[in-house]
Amino acid sequence: MATKPPTLPPDEALALRTIEGTYGGVDDIADDQPLDAAALQRMQAKIDQSFDTAWRLAREQAKAESRARAQRQTDLLAFAGDVLRDRIAALRVRIGPELQLAHRNLDDMSDDDLRSLLADLEEIAARTERTA
């Protein structure tokens, strides 16, 4: 009787479920039949292929979710200049010191750049609060 695998990290578990869905799980293995070298090689190739497919799907799914988030843009056209700077400063405090932010010279930035930055920070703040 084949033993159950140990607890896996979520991404490895996803790959394993994909493999089991395609080729069957541990209970489907007849472990009283010895496998020859060629069969083992074929099995390894199938496992590799399944892992590759699972990761490819994971990348595509993550990208699709990322693009869907991009559609949910807030409307910041009503704001300009110092109002944008004040809101950015407030968000920086709200997100906390671990925020990585390249823009330092907010005074040199155009309103469009400030709006983009503010939209990004609003989203990061929301994510931070969801995961807190």
Binding site: A58, R59, E60, E65, Q100, H103
Partner: protein, 268 residues
């Protein structure tokens, strides 16, 4: 052979770790936006003059300038910002967004060079490319093929080729008749200085004068590119192409074995 500085090697190793983690084994799997998303970074377009990332441990956003229109350059920009993130560069001290010139050109040191090394290894892994770079004769043809297969710009592909090949090669980018930067392979001994005025016998000058696009590699006098006190008739090879989007010219120089002997470039 020169060994790259430790921070550059560390950057390349970090990119290889991403390949391992996400099981990337084929050029078509280098979906940089998907990789970024798995690492918690969303890619957005517009609203900046360069490329930039903001974020924290919960995730972040990479924002690309609308000025970066070439798909290969966009991929490189995303990979460059991923590099800053994966290498834990402290961006709080940075003056602003990464400038296109530092992302898409050649720089030797500092965090921008490390992010570029990460991006080059992520998008054009040495394990997929090194053997392919062992070619002779050398021309821009292979760089074009790399650019197409790995979906990067021709300049990025030429720089990567020079990094990986054992041939004596240099990629030189010039603008307004002067050298902007030059990247040499480990075996290319002569030094090509930034700011050097192009000499009349170089193919690059011809590209500027005639606006000619591409004619394949051709022999040029070695002193078209560097001073030497060996055989005055010694020739090297130059393949040059105009890069209209940057108003510049990219030259790939190659010193074949026979020329290297004539130029006495190798130690006795």
């Amino acid at each position: 052979m020169n060994i790259a500085p430790l921070p550059i090697r560390r950057a390349r190793k970090a990119a290889s770790a991403v390949h391992e983690r996400f099981r990337i084994r084929d050029p078509k799997d280098i979906d940089v936006e998907g990789i970024a998303a798995l690492l918690g970074l969303d890619v957005r377009h517009g609203g900046l003059t360069g490329a930039d990332a903001v974020g924290n441990a919960s995730g972040g956003i990479i924002r690309l300038s609308p000025r970066v229109t070439h798909e290969g350059s966009q991929r490189f920009s995303v990979a460059h910002e991923l590099g800053h993130r994966q290498l834990a560069h402290r961006t709080n001290n940075a003056p602003g967004a990464c400038k296109p010139a530092s992302v898409h050109g050649h720089i030797d040191r500092g965090v921008e060079a490390e992010a570029n090394a990460f991006a080059a290894e992520l998008l054009m892994p040495s394990k997929m490319l090194r053997r392919r770079c062992e070619v002779s004769p050398v021309s821009l043809e292979l760089a074009r093929a790399i650019a197409a297969d790995f979906e990067v710009s021709l300049v990025a592909a030429a720089l990567r080729f020079v990094e990986l090949t054992s041939e004596r090669c240099a990629a030189v980018f010039s603008r307004a008749g002067r050298v902007v930067w030059a990247a040499r392979s480990d075996t290319f001994v002569p030094f090509i200085e930034r700011g050097l005025w192009l000499r009349r016998s170089s193919v690059a000058v011809d590209c500027f004068r005639s606006g000619r696009l591409h004619d394949g590699a051709q022999p040029v006098p070695a002193d078209a590119w560097f001073d030497h006190d060996a055989d005055p008739n010694a020739e090297i090879w130059e393949d040059a192409v105009s890069v209209p989007s940057t108003r510049g010219v990219l030259s790939l120089l190659w010193i074949p074995e026979k020329c290297a002997r004539a130029l006495r470039l190798d130690p006795e």
